[in-house]
Symmetry: C2
Subunit: 226 residues, 2 copies
DNA sequence: GTCTATAGTTGGATAGAC
DNA sequence: GTCTATCCAACTATAGAC
């Protein structure tokens, strides 16, 4: 929005961090801290210290802590959902009218989650997207509706078309079970569970994606025909 | 622990609430509020107002906000886990050495969750147990280990014995997927999801239990033999 | 065992200089 | 656009009376 200045803005204590502009550094720190400790557990001071700037700079850019949370979630989730829809559209175009395989739909839904996670947060366990299910609903609901609503409807529709003999309640239930598994995984729970105790080497991401798809596909197929 | 007094203790502003003793009322209010808003989002003032008593009474009984959270989670989850193990033991005793059916194990795991939810929180959507996956790990981890560790090991073992041809990593993964679905459900997400939008009548609890068992059983059976 | 009152800290947000 | 300094509200925990 501002005329792109080739220099770093003015002065700023942002010398320790990367030289990207303050707004980006704030979003980075906010995403990391909100993901780890939630909205109420994270102070503006912690975020601005993490970004190497001041509380007033954050309020200048975002207006309030609540809007900063929403912007951080939006930035993290919008490209994932765009990619999901893109993969679904590609699959539909390739299918030439035939119903999609269940595994194809699930792959389009889950693969972008795993891949963006590796690309953007190579170290962190918990994604800020998981906070959509534990942070205060009044902050979270607008994002859910705006960013997730259209994508969710596309996948509900795709599932229903691929399993036309199932009731809509059962399909929605299965869809929700899929989301439950995904949220659990991106919450980093695998890393602090009995699985981590018995298998400290961790789980390969490709294998994890494959197992999630197999598991959910079988679960959905087990839903009774109406 | 104190000699059971037949009268209500002394005076107390607890006249609006039920006449049970202060400690119980505090745990009730804490369970409800921590479940809804999390540890950091809930103040001692809100809890003690909800219990019709004072902050100092709460600190007298529990020592700190953190211990109050841990006690509230313990009280809510211990009987559920005891019942799970009891159902598993009953099934094992009845099986006379034969491996248990997958559905029997899953029923023992999930049924107590659904039933205690209906019995104790007829109105509330979100269970405090769900906060085991979003509240600060340093508060939560001790409870997980103490209250959930033995129960989880029993069920991991039961799953492994019923599916001897599967690798332990895959069994643990499937176990974690089961937990993910259960956490999602007890977080009340079904009530604020696309499912609630399309099916505002809600889902019958018996049907929900049945569908969860079918879904997870099929998912587990889809795991590849080693 | 419970209260009122308060100590001591930390929080979000803003004013005003630069 | 960013800073320092500050306001004021809310928090946890405790002291001390009863």
């Amino acid at each position: 929005m501002p005329p792109s200045n080739l220099d770093t803005p003015a002065s700023g204590a942002g010398d320790g961090a990367s030289p990207r502009d303050t707004k980006e550094r704030l979003l980075d720190a906010a995403e990391r801290l909100f993901a780890e400790r939630g909205f109420e557990g994270t102070s503006m001071r912690a975020i601005t210290q993490g970004a190497g700037t001041s509380v007033s700079a954050a309020n200048y850019h975002f207006g309030s802590k609540e809007k900063l949370l929403q912007e951080a979630i939006r930035r993290a989730t919008e490209p994932v959902n765009a990619r999901r829809i893109e993969l679904l559209d590609i699959a539909i175009a390739a299918s030439e009218g035939a119903p999609l395989a269940l595994e194809t739909i699930l792959d389009a839904y889950l693969r972008p989650v795993i891949e963006f996670r590796r690309a953007n947060r190579p170290d962190e366990g918990r994604s800020i997207a998981a906070r959509l299910f534990s942070d205060p609903p009044e902050l979270i609901q607008p994002i859910k509706i705006e960013i997730f609503g259209p994508m969710t409807r596309r996948f509900s529709q795709a599932l229903a078309e691929t399993m036309p003999e199932r009731g809509s309640l059962d399909i929605e239930l299965g869809h929700q079970f899929l989301i439950g598994i995904m949220v659990y995984v991106i919450s980093g729970q695998l890393e602090s569970s009995s699985l981590a105790a018995t298998h400290p080497e961790g789980v390969d991401e490709g294998l994890l994606l494959q197992r999630m798809i197999e598991f959910v596909a079988a679960g959905l197929r087990a839903l009774p025909p109406a």
